[in-house]
Amino acid sequence: MKRIIITLALLCHSAIASGAMPEFPVNKVTDYPALQMWIKQAPHTTAAFTMERTMPSGRILKSRGSFEYRLGQGMMWRTSHPVRNAMLITPAALTVYDAKGRELRRTDLQGVPSGRITGAFTQQMDPAFLKQMERIFDITCRADVQKHVLVLGLKARHESNDLRWMLLVIRKGELNNVYYESGRQGVTKVTFTNVRNGEKVPESPFEL
């Protein structure tokens, strides 16, 4: 079964990006320790990203920028093209800043699915957060040590969830791809390059 996921994740990028729903195994296989280990090994990650989004209307949006993850703090997405802005996501809130660093919008994430996912990652897959995630998603986490691939798959348990599914692919200990489908945003594929893992989380706050 793990082959299905990994094959899907590695070979069917285009199929997923065009909106096809990946096959999730019926039996959940949760290899959380592997995921926890990866997070522990890379508590501070920086990368460049390119995003390709196929919106519900079929229109394709492309953007690029940089990404930063800090264990215990949150993650920052800085978009440099076609718009310059930054988005800080913590388990508690999502804050959007414009190019001048002014706060455009702040949305509380307490209790909402995206807040739980962020919470789980920033808290090193804390069991309490995982439990909350399991209430919303069917979770599959598989590691293929030989191929150095770790895949995390989430599938919404309720139709009302906006986030229908998500796949996170980590290759050779580096964040590689994120795929997800949102009812309101369409299917999004994020590819990370130039990934750098730091062993220490900076004490200074996120830079805009």
């Binding site: 919106m55 229109r59 718009v83 996501i89 959007v96 455009l104 209790g111 945003q185």
Partner: protein
């Protein structure tokens, strides 16, 4: 066919006619208290206020308190999932989803104040930045598919709306959240099905089911249905216990006096038949009956118990079942005085009082008819009822009781003077209700959280049509903001006027054209027409209270009471006025109370006149003394103890009048030392006291007020009734002789 047969045939026809009316027209008993409230002269605004009260009568507020946001949110979500069938959260995701879908065609013309102000000020770059942030965000920031609403106009319009957001609360995942100090709150407004507004039973069933899922610590329930449920449940429980107690006392009394329950069975059958006739008459005349008029009217029919008691005691051990002329005369006089008393209710032209009068008069008359028609027949065929020796002895003791004729008048005068100088009054409906401390605390906390701790000021905006009302409300909204009122609720805050919607559409169109390359949006070229309040009302949405904010010819603007001083600086408009429903109702209740008190005076004068014609002025004065004293002692007693006089005390005085008159008339028409009459009056007093007096021990202020007043008035009227003994014996004999 002799006279007795005619009476029986007539009684049967009346009873069958009542049954036919009930079968053909059906019994429509209203239970909603809102049906009792006066509709007032000014139709539009009053109707809206009544509609608002009706809407709130279905809204249950669940307030969850906790140490963290996560905790209260989890609890709220768990609670939402386990709600009983028919109860739905007002602000949950699915209802928000439904209204989102409904507003989709109008998404380019509905703007939040923030977005409208940015567009008017030409701050289009920030709006474009916001749209790009929405488009490229990793988490969806809008309620609509992002390419349909990239600027987030429709999302902000919905989420920043005062009816969804509520003052001081943040909508999150279908739950409203806020915090005060270290305490976090989740607020979950729930809506009961429409049938709950009309049926107490439905409301009680739903409320019990909600309460069962809200038992966890930190979960508080409040809102109008909770008050109705708690008050009705506790009063039903108390009334149930007290009814059993009353029944036990009455049965024990009958067993002791008559050594059998046959007398009671006859009495119950008479009261049952009289009740059917009373209900039939009320349905025929008024179409439908309110539960309160039925309960109060049937209590008055209970006066006819006295007639039965007098017949049974008067004929104890006799084979002659015929009603003696003296008893017939006393019974008819008793009926006449009671009828005069209740007929005056029609003068007040209040439907509830009219219904009470119909039920009482028809019931009393029917009861009397059944006694005259059937009692001699029943009595002749069955073994006459015998009084136990002990009760006869008691009658003798009671008959020895003497009282000077002037004493009741002295007592009445004294009570009158005390009442005139000291009697406080209370016409505020809210004071009739004393909620449980926990419920009061929940209401207080919710009011503090949504800024309504000092109540609400209601402003009425008038206009020729919907458009004019909405435009005026928009003008008022700007003036309110200028006066320093940051939060208010009005129809125009939810549905802008057509003119403003068109203006919004043009502003959005220009913006979309300016940034067509960066933020492409498919937008119609022409304005699709306005969204009207009635359209939105059709959507099953969180805007359920919109219906009570907007109506024909006027609309309401609700401002938190704490901003009342700021309202003074508002410019004067001929189309704007302040409405105070409680003051209006208080005035109406005051009017009813004063009217009933004046009518009470008229009734006492009429009773005196009728008795003067029958017995002569002197005898009438002696007869009326105890009744007058009983009624006036109610007012005097309340004044003496500083208890404010309410409408229900006055209504209770009519009961005192009906019962007290019977005691005095029976005493007056019988000679001194008549132990049988004294015993009959004593039994009547004890049965009436056991039925009405126990009401004083309930915790429901309306029944408590009535119980206190009836107990006090009846006791005084009974204790002083020996003063009337034999007052009308001579005039009665003279009348009989002259007839011979």
């Amino acid at each position: 066919m002799n006279g007795d047969m005619l009476k029986r045939a007539f009684a049967c026809i009346i009873f069958l006619a009542a049954v036919a009316v009930l079968l053909l027209r059906g019994v429509h008993v209203h239970t909603s208290l809102y049906d009792l409230l006066p509709t007032g002269g000014d139709s539009g605004a009053t109707q809206l206020l009544e509609r608002m009260a009706r809407t709130s009568s279905r809204q249950v507020n669940v307030l969850i308190k906790g140490a963290s946001e996560q905790e209260v949110l989890e609890q709220a979500r768990k609670l939402s999932a386990s709600l009983p069938e028919g109860v739905r959260p007002i602000t949950d995701q699915s209802s928000l989803g439904r209204v989102c879908e409904f507003l989709r065609p109008y998404r380019f013309q509905l703007l939040s104040p923030r977005h409208r102000s940015a567009l008017q000020q030409g701050d289009s770059q920030s709006l474009c930045d916001e749209a790009l942030a929405n488009l490229y965000s990793f988490v969806p920031l809008s309620l609509y598919p992002v390419d349909e609403d990239p600027y987030g106009f429709a999302t902000s319009f919905l989420l920043e709306n005062p009816l969804v957001r509520q003052n001081g609360f943040e909508p999150r995942d279908g739950v409203l959240l806020t915090r005060r100090g270290d305490v976090h709150y989740a607020y979950l407004p729930l809506l009961l099905p429409e049938t709950a507004a009309d049926s107490l039973e439905v409301l009680q069933t739903h409320m019990a089911a909600i309460a069962a899922v809200c038992q966890e610590e930190g979960v508080m329930l409040c809102g109008t249905p909770v008050h109705t449920w708690r008050a009705s449940s506790s009063s039903q429980q108390a009334m149930g216990i007290l009814s059993i107690l009353s029944l036990v006392i009455v049965v024990a009394l009958f067993l002791w006096v008559f050594s059998s329950v046959r007398g009671m069975l006859i009495m119950s059958m008479t009261l049952g038949a009289a009740g059917v006739v009373a209900l039939g008459a009320a349905v025929l005349i008024h179409g439908s009956v309110h539960i309160l008029s039925l309960v109060f009217g049937c209590s008055l029919v209970g006066i006819s118990t006295d007639y039965v008691v007098h017949y049974l005691v008067g004929h104890h051990g006799e084979r002659d079942a015929e009603i003696s002329p003296a008893l017939r005369r006393s019974l008819l006089l008793g009926l006449l005085t009671s009828t005069i008393g209740y007929a005056t209710f029609y003068v007040a032209q209040v439907d509830l009082l009219g219904q009470i009068a119909t039920v009482s008069i028809a019931g009393l008359a029917a009861s009397m008819l059944f006694i005259f028609a059937f009692y001699p027949l029943i009595y002749r065929r069955s073994i006459p009822i015998k009084l136990v020796p002990g009760s006869l002895k008691l009658g003798e003791v009671a008959a020895r009781w003497r009282m000077p004729a002037w004493l009741p008048w002295c007592v009445a005068s004294g009570a009158f003077i005390v009442a005139v100088f000291q009697l406080p009054v209370c016409d505020d409906l809210r004071s009739f209700y004393r909620p449980e401390p926990a419920l009061l605390q929940a209401e207080k906390e919710l009011a503090q959280l949504n800024g309504m701790e000092q109540g609400v000021v209601t402003l009425v905006v008038r206009g020729a049509d919907t458009e004019e009302i909405l435009q005026r409300q928009e003008k008022l909204g700007a003036e309110l903001r200028e006066a320093g009122v940051p939060f208010y609720t009005s129809a125009s805050a939810i549905v802008p006027s057509a003119a403003r919607q068109k203006e919004n559409f043009e502003l959005v169109k220009n913006l979309v054209a300016a940034y067509a390359e960066d933020v492409p949006v498919e937008m119609p070229d022409t304005w699709p027409g306005p969204l009207l309040p009635e359209h939105l009302l059709r959507a099953d949405s969180p805007f359920v209270s919109l219906g009570s904010l907007w109506g024909e010819g006027c609309g309401l603007v609700l401002v938190p009471g704490k901003y009342e001083s700021q309202l003074e600086s508002l410019p004067q408009h001929p189309w704007l006025e302040q409405a105070d429903r409680f003051a209006e109702l208080q005035n109406q209740v005051r009017q009813w109370r004063v009217q009933l008190m004046v009518l009470m005076g008229v009734v006492l004068a009429l009773v005196l006149t009728v008795l003067s014609i029958s017995f002569g002025v002197r005898s009438a004065l002696r007869t009326c003394g105890p009744v007058f004293a009983g009624v006036l002692c109610v007012f005097g007693g309340l004044a003496l103890f500083g208890v404010p006089l309410t409408l229900f005390h006055v209504l209770a005085c009519y009961l005192v009048l009906g019962l007290g008159c019977d005691y005095a008339i029976f005493r007056a028409t019988h000679e001194l030392g008549s132990s049988i009459t004294a015993l009959a009056v004593l039994i009547s007093f004890l049965t009436s006291w056991s039925v009405f007096g126990v009401l004083a021990f309930t915790n429901f202020s309306v029944t408590q007020d009535m119980g206190i007043a009836v107990s006090l008035g009846l006791t005084v009227a009974y204790v002083l009734s020996p003063a009337a003994t034999g007052a009308a014996v001579r005039p009665c004999k003279a009348l009989c002789e002259s007839r011979k």
